[in-house]
């Protein structure tokens, strides 16, 4: 474990792919890092500070921190993660074909420089984690776009932690999208126009006249913008924000984006097709930090409860909204990782040897994207990719990396 720690530190902040974006105001960054760190070791974990950090300028700064903070935001014990899915996860699942189809053609979601073989391994993992979560939750139904959420998690936290995060997200934030029908999703989309109406009646009326509807924002909402942003660092920034926010926040951001483009919209021909076309294409150079701050303001000024008084929004209940408060409460009593590790280990040893399956390694597994397949990290790379493929490859990987990670860590992977 010690060794691992050291490696983690080496892989730290500086080499992270999304460093440059957030680095300019360096003074604030250092302080933020310290605050996050402090919040993580507080007992109980200082979740309020973590939420604030995730939403405020720059978000969680690095993938290293995301691997530590995202689980806290979702009340997940990283020392008690689900097992890697077995082969049976793919058997007889009604959504298997659709998942396969969507994942196989989701090439764009993977970093550009990633070799095809490595991407292929991740795609297989992606199929597995999606099916695993669906299998654990028969009440949840796959939708096209769910894979865009899953891939974002997978690329940052690795397979096993991604299952845990996705499971919780699916039962809370994404819950409304996972009904057998999309009526609840439509209900959430119905919050969009009332927000616009509060802020800019003229724009609202223009859009109503055009009969554009709200489908242009559908993929934004149900993928948390993962489907429409081409820069992964922007997606991550938004995920930091949404993981720390109310489930309706993606809709407030949608409203903010439309408001931001108000002039363009009003100059467009007042026609469904034209307005849909304009809005459904998100400009890739949006000022994300500004928009995030504005959506928070909008949220505070016109909270969901206020909007819900409107007739159109009264007819239906949203599970994501109604369970949110309880969910937030549940995150308040988390122990820091050092304590969790000790506690979970103690618990594990009283049952079977295998039960102590959790490993801090999981947290370190995918390391930093871009570094994985970078030059200087051959051995780590072998281990990660080898382990994720077949059992045969996994054994091979152990042989390759035993010196690096120590057998006690590696054994816990199986």
């Amino acid at each position: 474990m010690k060794r691992l720690k050291r490696k983690k530190q080496n892989a730290g902040v500086g080499v992270n792919g999304n460093g440059p974006v957030t680095r300019e105001p360096d003074c604030g960054r250092k302080q933020k890092l310290a605050e996050i760190h402090q919040a993580l070791i507080s007992d109980p974990v200082d979740i309020e500070t973590l939420r604030r950090a995730a939403a405020s300028r720059g978000g969680l700064l690095t993938d290293e921190l995301r691997r530590k903070v995202w689980p806290k935001l979702l009340n997940i014990n990283v020392y008690d993660l689900p097992h890697k899915p077995g082969r049976d996860v793919r058997e007889n699942h009604k959504d298997y074909n659709q998942v396969l189809l969507d994942v196989r053609r989701s090439m764009k979601r993977f970093p550009k420089g990633m070799p095809a073989t490595e991407r292929a391994v991740l795609q297989e993992q992606l199929i597995d984690i999606i099916l695993e979560v669906l299998k654990r939750n028969p009440q949840l139904h796959y939708y096209q776009g769910y894979h865009d959420v899953a891939v974002t998690l997978l690329l940052v936290v690795g397979e096993r932690m991604a299952i845990a995060l996705l499971d919780t997200l699916s039962n809370y934030h994404l819950r409304d999208f996972m009904d057998p029908t999309m009526d609840s999703t439509k209900h959430i989309l119905n919050y969009l126009m009332p927000i616009l109406e509060q802020v800019d009646t003229e724009l609202h009326d223009f859009m109503m006249r055009s009969e554009v509807g709200t489908i242009f924002a559908l993929s934004w909402l149900i993928t948390w913008y993962g489907h429409v942003l081409s820069e992964f660092k922007h997606t991550l920034r938004l995920y930091d924000f949404f993981l720390a926010s109310h489930p309706l926040m993606p809709i407030y951001l949608a409203a903010t984006i439309v408001l931001h483009r108000e002039k363009e919209v009003k100059q467009t021909e007042c026609d469904m097709a034209m307005v849909h076309h304009l809005l459904s294409r998100i400009p890739q150079d949006l000022p994300y930090e500004l928009l995030i701050a504005q959506s928070q303001d909008l949220f505070n000024q016109y909270p969901p409860s206020l909007l819900a008084k409107r007739a159109a929004l009264q007819s239906r209940k949203s599970l994501s909204i109604s369970t949110f408060q309880a969910f937030q409460l549940s995150t308040l009593h988390q122990r820091p990782d050092s304590v969790l590790q000790r506690l979970t280990k103690a618990q594990g040893s009283t049952t079977s040897r295998h039960a102590s399956r959790h490993s801090g390694l999981e947290a370190a597994l995918p390391r930093d994207r871009g570094q994985l397949w970078g030059k200087g990290n051959r051995i780590v790379k072998m281990a990660v990719w080898g382990l994720s493929a077949t059992l045969g490859a996994a054994v091979f990987a152990v042989a390759q990396t035993a010196m690096d990670w120590g057998p006690e860590v590696l054994l816990q992977l199986f």
């Binding site: 659709q98 189809l101 969507d102 053609r105 989701s106 090439m107 764009k108 139904h141 939708y143 096209q144 776009g145 894979h147 057998p180 029908t181 999309m182 009526d183 999703t185 439509k186 509807g213 489908i215 242009f216 559908l218 993929s219 149900i222 993928t223 489907h227 429409v228 081409s230 100059q267 021909e269 097709a273 034209m274 849909h276 076309h277 459904s280 294409r281 998100i282 890739q284």
Partner: protein, 242 residues
């Protein structure tokens, strides 16, 4: 961006400076069918002139358009590319069935299930009050994959006849190649011909004459082996006249 490079086909055609004069007629065509049959590739092929390198799942509705000239008239063809997953149809795509002028049903010739879904799609259209008076065509895609064909031309033809629509077999990937070798005349673009056929139909109810699409090479456009050439011309349009 929902589809790779999907902004490409619009560059130019949608900026305000090149907006066609207001009198330009717009033909709205909705493209439906199971997930993965190639709806996105077909619409992209028609609007951008090439096979997209990577497509992604279509979430909700995507929109593509292209300006064409038919018999001297400039016409905007608007294609509404829809999500195939069932849950999207029911409550999402609905909105876009309104005011469409034509419907293109797509199945995948290498996937029998996608063919078996067609009755459900046709039913769905009916529910949105798009009856037989709205021109409808059937497109069997991916016929470049000759070795894995699961839906024969004759079966497709029978089905199309029964539903009074013409059927075309094509490939969004390689639209000028034909498995049976008998239609490989020159470099005519099949996908283009198909959508232009619909546009012609819309422009006029007169017997179809396929004019040369804008930018096309001189040759005659040959329609596919799956083309409905025997049916009752009154019921299924577009066939007996070619």
């Amino acid at each position: 961006m929902a589809e790779s490079g999907s902004s490409v086909e619009f560059s130019g055609s949608l900026t305000s400076s090149t907006l066609p004069p207001p009198r330009t007629r717009i033909f709205k065509i909705i493209v439906i069918g199971d997930s993965g049959v190639g709806k996105t590739c077909l619409t992209y092929r028609f609007c951008a002139g090439k096979f997209p390198e990577k497509t992604e799942a279509t979430i909700g509705v995507d929109f593509r358009e292209r300006l064409v000239e038919i018999d001297g008239e400039k016409i905007k063809i608007q294609l509404w590319d829809t999500a195939g997953q069932e849950r999207f149809r029911k409550s999402m795509v609905q909105h876009y069935y309104r005011n469409v002028h034509a419907v293109v049903f797509v199945y995948d010739v290498t996937n029998a299930a996608s063919f078996r879904s067609l009755p459900a799609w046709i039913e769905e259209c009916k529910q949105h009050a798009l009856g037989t008076e709205v021109p409808r065509i059937l497109v069997g895609n991916k016929c470049d994959l000759q070795d894995s064909i699961q839906v024969g031309t004759d079966v497709a033809q029978q089905f199309a006849d029964a539903h009074s629509m013409p059927v075309f077999e094509t490939s969004a990937k390689n639209p000028s190649s034909h498995g049976d070798g008998s239609y490989g005349s020159g470099n005519s673009d099949h996908v283009e011909a198909i959508f232009m056929t619909v546009a012609h139909k819309l422009k006029s109810q007169k017997p179809l004459v396929l004019s040369q699409p804008s930018g096309g090479s001189g040759g005659t456009i040959s329609l596919s082996s799956g083309m409905n050439d025997g049916g009752d011309g009154a019921r299924s349009w577009g066939c007996s006249s070619c």
